[in-house]
Amino acid sequence: MQVTVVEEHFFDLLPAYALGCLDGEDDLRVAEHLAACKLCRGELERYRSLVADLPFAVAESDPPPRLKETILQRARQARGMATAAPKIPWWQRVPSWSMVSLVLILALGASNLLLWGRLNTLEIRQRTSLRTILLQGTTSAPNATGMLVISLDGSHGTLVVDRLPILSESQQYQLWLIRDGKRTSGGVFSVDEKGYKGMYIKSPEPLDTYTGVGITVEPSGGSPGPTGEKVLGGNL
């Protein structure tokens, strides 16, 4: 049986943690404590609500009138909802001289994407505070809850889950790190009689570079890819 003993709380540091203004060492201590302390997590939520209320007191200004249409246009593009054009093949609509330009633009775009990716990784590595991602129970485990705390450099993290259903001996839970639709195993685990588990996660690539996490029920020892029901999930 796993017993978590919490000897000290960090009530005085939680207001600053919610604001994100703790310096590195304090930030780390509080994040590690939060992973194991439900009482402090509850307190933190109250301070987070408070922080989210503070924008209501800023000086108000109206956004430019054109901004709404810009956003709606980008939203349409994001879901491929742009007004349908007549279905003429694109190469018939593009003058031949512009094909060379198009190739160059595509090459530049690709190199920009590569650079952007590298910059993004650098930015992630320069974070000054830990990231906490809350995981949400699915319909298969509606009472389940979880949290993933990611280290400053993104190379490791701590997963804490609670109230997950107890599985048979032939089954275990498996954590999946999701990026571009691909799922990489983040570890296999079982929970105690309360459905609780705390687990260290070491990732070959920065955890921050993934876009989501999910936990599924798998045969004992884990699977190469998810096969069972998803019980918890969250977006990074």
């Binding site: 709380h9 009530f11 005085d12 207001p15 600053a16 919610a18 604001l19 994100g20 203004c21 703790l22 310096d23 304090d26 009482l39 307190e43 109250r46 301070y47 987070r48 609500s49 408070l50 922080v51 989210a52 209320d53 503070l54 924008p55 209501f56 007191a57 800023v58 000086a59 108000e60 200004s61 109206d62 956004p63 430019p64 901004l67 709404k68 810009t70 956003i71 709606l72 980008r74 939203a75 349409r76 994001a78 879901r79 909802m81 930015e123 320069q126 000054t128 809350l134 949400q136 977006n235």
Partner: protein
């Protein structure tokens, strides 16, 4: 469909179904809040527009992940706005010292027409309560809090900016947050 009469959660469900008009209605309701927060943080209207776009596109792309039990839509949006604005400042190495860096007191100006009357009253009351609570903070606590809130400064950065001892800054921020919590939510603290 009369989108003005729909509450925020209903709009989010429609946004998750790619209903563009629902996004437009949410924009009409909260764009001023999002834009104002971004403008106050960055001091640059161009950046504030960029942040406002990011926030609403994130709502559009992530609406299906929103869970009402995790908080109100407006709370979610204000958190995204703040983090996005502070991230942008850090990424671009901007230290907008000339910004207002403070909240305003007094009565809120008129609200957008894109709200149901009941919701309009709720938002107006919320604004008023937050402003009144902030006005009750001692100036030095409010100043330290504003550096953390608007600029995303850490304790030590605030101490440096204000030329105050680190312990003093920590105490001011803690007391400010505790007092606001007590005023706004009439809460008690677990260590009392």
């Amino acid at each position: 469909m009369d989108y003005i009469k729909l509450d925020d959660e209903a709009l989010m469900r429609l946004i998750a179904l790619a209903q563009e008009q629902a996004l437009g209605a949410l924009y009409d309701r909260y764009s001023r809040l999002v834009f104002s927060m971004a403008l106050n943080t960055t001091g640059d209207s161009g950046l504030a527009e960029e942040i406002t776009q990011d926030v609403f596109l994130r709502v559009w792309n992530k609406a299906e992940t929103y869970r009402p039990e995790q908080g109100k839509v407006v709370t979610w949006m204000s958190s995204i706005t703040r983090y996005r604005a502070i991230d942008l400042l850090r990424q671009r190495g901007i230290r907008p010292e000339g910004n207002r860096l403070d909240w305003v007191d007094g009565v809120s100006p008129d609200l957008p027409d894109a709200m149901d009357v009941e919701l309009e009253v709720e938002v107006a009351q919320r604004k008023q309560r937050v402003r009144t609570a902030l006005s009750q903070l001692p100036p030095e606590q409010r100043q330290a809090l504003s550096y953390a809130f608007f600029q995303g400064y850490s304790h030590s950065q605030i101490a440096e900016a204000l030329s105050e001892p680190l312990g003093t800054v920590k105490t001011r921020i803690r007391l400010a947050m505790q007092k606001l919590r007590q005023i706004l939510y009439e809460d008690k603290f677990p260590n009392e």
